[in-house]
Amino acid sequence: MFLAPFLAAVTKRAARCRRPMLWPALPPLIVRCLLILLLLVLFSAIPGRAQAQQTAPQFDDVAARAAAARDQQNLPLAIELYGQAEQLKPDWAEGWFYLGLLQYSSDNFPQAIEAFNHLLQLQPNAPPAMALRGLCEFETGAYDDALRDLDEAVRKGAANQPRNEQIIRYRLAQLLARVGRFQDALLQYQFFAAKHIDDPDLLLGVGLAGMRITTLPKDVPAESRQLFEAAGKAGYIFLSGDSQGADTEFNQLFARYPTAPNLHFFYGTLLFMHGPELAIPQFQSEVAVAPSNPAAHAILAYSLMFAGRFAESRPEAELALAGAPDMEMAQLALGRALAETGDPDRAAEVLNQVLKRDPNDLEAHIGLAVMYARTGRREEAYRERMVCLGLAK
């Protein structure tokens, strides 16, 4: 209504003007109109400002009541109030965190995930929120999402707080084993062993990871629990530092379950951390128990390679690759063994297969350095060694 004459006047003025007009020189009437318009705009803003002034105390009040309800452990009320507060101020990160935490504490996992989603949109690098969302995702069965979140959260330091460390590591260990990252899972379980935290479910988890079972502990049939728990106990003793006690425990298990697959594999894996030559007899036993298991042949080949027994490593690696042609561990062992036993061309071919997938694979570069050194190609060997030193940093 106000704008029509104003615009018409501006247009007329513009038409009269010879040069392009950046800002019209306005007649007094229009100036008055403009001032009126400005005042109206200002007045129309006043109710908004008043509303905002009203919202702030209202938000502060709701937030304070939410915090009080949380302190009093009144979870339903606290959830309700934090929800209200977030409606009033959706960019309140702290509110989303507490809302998520309270929903998590009340076993409302989907709602908790939603709250943490809001928070992580506001603060994408908040490890505690990421960890809590991961825990909720675990509970809802979204295991891949849970692994992604917990893995990243732990890498960013979420497990550094003693209050949350146990549950985060416990869930992460289960999820790592579920996707076949058994060694990583055992590293998480090592935390509990070092602190001598004991629990049957924990032992079951250790046993499953050690025996390379991807089933989650809650899904293990009752009749299978005994073996896995016993294996977990032996592994747990080892991880807690009692190597002789673990040795006794494992040997008893071997006598009780002479044909159980991956039992020797488990003990060998633990021993490997302290010296490949200690692990070799266990992997040899595993190969005897399960001769068609490529993973067992591969880790035996890899251990023999680490121990410098290249001639023995080579046939084991070949056997592993016959069953699983892309198995990286076997390729690395074979490549190095070939380099050491006088077949440099094939060594380069095999090692380059690994490097094609991962150009920064340290072990492949070590193999190439050795291959060049063994064939007197000094400059190439030096170059590869320097690549390795760079990667090792």
Binding site: G241, Q244, A373, G376, R378, R385, C388, L389, A392, K393
Partner: protein
Amino acid sequence: MSAWFALAWQSRLKRRSASFAAVALVVLLCVFASTRLAQAQTAKPGAAAAVTCATCHAGVSASYAHAPMRHALENPGANPVLDTHPKLTVQMGAYTYTVQTKDGQSTYTVSDGTDSMTLPIRWDFGQQSQTWVLEKDGNLYEGLVSYFHRDQALATTPGDGRITPHNLTEAMGRKLNAWEVNQCFNCHATNALDGVRLKLNTLTPGLDCERCHVGVEQHMADAIHDNFTTLPKKLKTMDAEDAANFCGQCHRTWDTVVRNGWKGVVDVRFQPYRLENSKCFTGNDRRISCLTCHDPHQPVNHNDAVYDSKCLACHGGGKASKGATAAAPPTAKACPVAKANCVSCHMQKVELPGGHAVFTDHMIRIVKAGEPYPD
């Protein structure tokens, strides 16, 4: 007549005696032969009691008796360093350490001024500079102080400087886990391990011949029967790569250091690793092997000039050298600066932090003044 009888009797006596002696000799020979046969039949590994490496290899055995590796570990009562320093004392923070030796027995005492703890020194690691492994309540501890040859005094054990003890036990030493113990003894003793089990009571302190020359027992058992088909592997013929890996079992291989990501000046102790980082290192060339410069049966020679001939074997300036092969070129660029004391310029001397000793960096290079230690 009587004379004849007498002679005849004597003669009969002699004959009887001779016959008796002959029979006795035959019997004795049979007994001796059967005993030898029995000995030979039972001469399995470990049964050749009287035969040692020195029986045939007297020279090298005699020189090795004085080599540092032979004395990498000693039992109490065989420690000249402590015998000549019967009382060593040092104050480290709130604690006083005293190592006392009397009648061949050494004790290690730590005191906080109020209480004290004294333990017998059971294991001496090292020949000149020494670290002691102590036993308390069935656990082994690395003494928090060691003896340093250069200073002729006690100081913090290398690597333990970051430890702040809160009680006498922590001040006494760092508790060793089973794997550390195994590694320590496996490199400082012979027959220390049976699988994962440490054999503290039966190990041989120091590196005996069989620690490197695997199979010597079989060789000795066979050699007394003139059987030389079971000779241990000839280590002298290893090329540079093999030698570095062999010595690196204890001095750390290049692979081990790289895989573990160990960095910094402390790496100077890992000579095979440093050597393999040299531009001139060639795996299949024996002229750059550990054994080219070092005879493990002899003490280390600290005269730099001794090593010149080893460098000139490649950098001789055109002369084809011993050890050159088709793969390893006979000559490399000659040094434009000097033909003597190569090591003094090309192998930096590095003070090991907290080690109270200077090490020779085996990464052979043109060392430039002021450049940082190359990792």
